[in-house]
Symmetry: C2
Subunit: 123 residues, 2 copies
Amino acid sequence: MTSADHIRDTVRRYVETVGTGTAADVVALYREDATVEDPVGSEVRVGHAAITEFYAAIESLDTSTELLSIRVAGNSAAFNFRVITRFGEQTFTLEPIDVMTFDEDGRITSMRAFWSQDDMVVS
Amino acid sequence: MTSADHIRDTVRRYVETVGTGTAADVVALYREDATVEDPVGSEVRVGHAAITEFYAAIESLDTSTELLSIRVAGNSAAFNFRVITRFGEQTFTLEPIDVMTFDEDGRITSMRAFWSQDDMVVS
């Protein structure tokens, strides 16, 4: 089993690369056969190609991110983070709670993001 | 599907009854065949009898609780809450992130709590 510190480190890098990295940077943190369900209840994306498509859609946006809290249990983590997206004159702030599982090498094997449009704050 | 407001209301009542209610009060929020995994990675408790046993263990403690944040997605919720337990001269503070699923009537069908001993703050 991967250590709690390793998991925390991967989550920190995930939040950071979602804010400043490319889609490829983010996807490199996932295992090849990983799954992404964002938001929970939507279609599950399976594998690097489908996951790359997902992050490519947000890659070009002007975003900044911050990890707010993280809890590690076994080979899983739940964490709350802030994503601020600037688009023209407007700022969109979202604070999802994500749940991830990890393999023995600390790679993400699944991600599920809990949020809805109601949680988006526009200013 | 139960509404997001109904889910939020059930989570608020859950956090409140964990702080001030009896084990029976908490268990009444769960469907008869519900599952509890607390913390994630530990044995899964199935059904009202096993879940009652779990909450009975904390029923007599002097605790207070507060909901910190909640995200609803589909028939699921993830939320961060604070549990403060006073025991003699010491205060134990824990802020787990829980994930729950709900049935059509807003009853909890599963709960998974993300936290570890490392997250416990003793003061």
